[in-house]
Amino acid sequence: LPIHAEKDNEEDAELVQNYLNKFYAVEPDPNQLGWKINAETIAGKLQKMQQFFGLKVTGKLDNETLEMMKKPRCGVPDVGL
C-alpha cells in the first residue's frame, strides 16, 4: 500500500505544479506588453489559488485544495489578465 500512496503523491505533486503554473503563474509584464512567468514560490501561488476559490488560505496543500484542482475547468489563467 505505501508504494501506491507514494505514486499517488507524485501524481498529485505534478498536478499541483502544473495547475499553479498554468493558472497562477502569469502576470502582466508592462515592458513587453505580454505575460511573464512570475518568480513566486509554490506557497505563494497556492495562497493565491486558495484565496481565489474561497478556501482556507494556508499556502499548504490540503484535501480540499487538491479536490478543487481536480475539477474540470476552463484553461484561461485565473489571475494576471
Partner: protein
C-alpha cells in the same frame, strides 16, 4: 467579476465555426454556439453574425493537445475543457474546445452550450470571477440549459465593458429571469421544512416561506450551499434538526446551513436496493419518527431511530395514501398534515384519517 482591457471597439462582431466535434450533430453544435452568443447579446448592445469562410472576430475550433498556432495546449480528457483569448487581432477573441472531452447537449459529459457561453465571456473581455454562482467562475458546473446562465455578477461585468442593451422591447431582459412563483404552471422539485420555515426548491432557486407571514424570500441554492449542484430532487427534515437533500443516487446531510463532512453519500447506504437510482420525494412524519421515500408509484419507509429501512417495503403509494395516485414531485408535513405535490397541483392529506382533505395549486403557499 474581472475584465481585460480593452473590449472590442465595435458592437457588431462576427464568428466562424471552423470545425466540428464528432460527439454532436453539426446542427446541435451550431445551435449550442448560437445560443451561447445570445446569452451575452440579450444583456448588451452586442450583435453576433455568423460567417462561413475567411477570418471572423471570434474563430471557434475543436482541437487536442498541441493544436495549430495556439500557445496553450490541451491535456486529454477532463482537466482543461476549453480556453479563449481576450479581444484583439490574430488569436484575439478566438475560442478552442478540447476535442478529447465528451461534448453533449445535456447533463452528461460537458454541455457545449454552457462551456461556450463561458469562453465567449473571455472572448468579449471578461476574466474569471471568484463568485461561485457566476458563469465566469473557472470550474465547470452543469445547470439546466433552460435556465438563464448569467448571474448578476456576470451581467455587471459585461455591462461594465459594453453597457446595457438599447431600450428594445422587453424580450431583452437585462436581469436573469427566475421562475415566477405565481405562474399558473408553477411546480417544485423538492420541498422541506426547516424548523419553522418551509423551503421550496426548483432548479437553482429556493424560496423560504414563513407560514405565519406570507412573504417568501427567494435565493440561489448556491448562496446557502455553494458546493451543492442545482436541481435537488428530494428533501426532508429529520428528527435531529437536520435536512437531507437528494439528487440522483447521492444525498447530503445539512445541519444549520452547513453540509456535514463525509457527504454526499450513496442512497444505498440508507438501505435502498441497488436498482433504486433516485428519490422523487421524502417526508419525515414528526409524530412517528418514520420517513417515507416516494419513488415512482411506490414508497419505502425508513425508521429514523434505528436508522434502517422497515421490512415489507416498497408498497404501492396509493394503497396507503388513497388519492395520491400520481408520481410525487415533493412532499412535506405541516401541523401533522402531509402536502403532496405533482406538477402545478398539491393535495392536503391527513395521515391518520388516511384521506385527501382538499386539492390546491402548488403555489398556494405564496401570497399570489
Amino acid at each position: 467579476y474581472g475584465f481585460t482591457l480593452p473590449g472590442w471597439k465595435k458592437n457588431k462582431l462576427t464568428y466562424r465555426i471552423v470545425n466540428y466535434t464528432p460527439d454532436m450533430s453539426k446542427e446541435d453544435v451550431d445551435k449550442a454556439i448560437e445560443k451561447a452568443f445570445k446569452v451575452w447579446s440579450v444583456v448588451t448592445p452586442l450583435i453576433f453574425t455568423r460567417i462561413h469562410k475567411g477570418i471572423a472576430d471570434i474563430m471557434i475550433a475543436f482541437g487536442t493537445k498541441v493544436h495549430g498556432h495556439c500557445p496553450r495546449y490541451f491535456d486529454g480528457p477532463l482537466g482543461v475543457l476549453a480556453h479563449a483569448f481576450p479581444p484583439g487581432n490574430g488569436l484575439g477573441g478566438d475560442v478552442h474546445f478540447d476535442e478529447d472531452e465528451d461534448w453533449t447537449t445535456g447533463s452528461a459529459g460537458f454541455n457545449l452550450f454552457l462551456v461556450a457561453a463561458h469562453e465567449f465571456g473571455h472572448a468579449l473581455g471578461l476574466s474569471h470571477s471568484k463568485d461561485q454562482r457566476a458563469l465566469m467562475f473557472p470550474n465547470y458546473a452543469y445547470i439546466s440549459p433552460s435556465e438563464f446562465p448569467l448571474s448578476p455578477d456576470d451581467i455587471s461585468g459585461i455591462q461594465s465593458i459594453y453597457g446595457s442593451p438599447p431600450n428594445a422591447p422587453d424580450e431583452r431582459p437585462t436581469t436573469p429571469t427566475s421562475p415566477k412563483t405565481c405562474g399558473s404552471q408553477m411546480s417544485f422539485d423538492a420541498i422541506t421544512t426547516l424548523r419553522r420555515e418551509v423551503i421550496f426548491l426548483k432548479g437553482r432557486h429556493l424560496w423560504r416561506v414563513y407560514p405565519d407571514n406570507s412573504e417568501a424570500e427567494q435565493e440561489l441554492i448556491s448562496v446557502f450551499w455553494p458546493n451543492l449542484t442545482p436541481g435537488i430532487e428530494a428533501a426532508y427534515e429529520n428528527t435531529k434538526d437536520q435536512i437531507l437533500l437528494f439528487k440522483g443516487n447521492k444525498f447530503w446531510v445539512i445541519s444549520g446551513y452547513q453540509v456535514l463532512l463525509g457527504y454526499p453519500k450513496n442512497i444505498n447506504t440508507l438501505g435502498f436496493p441497488k436498482g433504486v437510482k433516485k428519490v422523487d420525494a421524502a417526508v419525515c412524519n414528526k409524530n412517528t419518527g418514520k420517513t417515507d421515500f416516494f419513488i415512482g408509484d411506490k414508497y419505502w419507509r425508513f425508521d429514523e431511530n434505528s436508522q434502517s429501512m422497515e421490512k415489507g417495503y416498497p408498497r404501492l403509494t396509493v394503497d396507503d395514501f388513497p388519492g395520491i395516485s400520481q408520481r410525487v414531485d415533493a412532499v412535506f408535513q405541516q401541523k401533522g398534515l402531509f402536502y403532496f405535490f405533482h406538477g402545478s397541483k398539491q393535495w392536503e392529506f391527513d395521515p391518520i384519517a388516511k384521506k385527501v382533505i382538499r386539492e390546491m395549486k402548488s403555489n398556494s403557499w405564496f401570497n399570489c
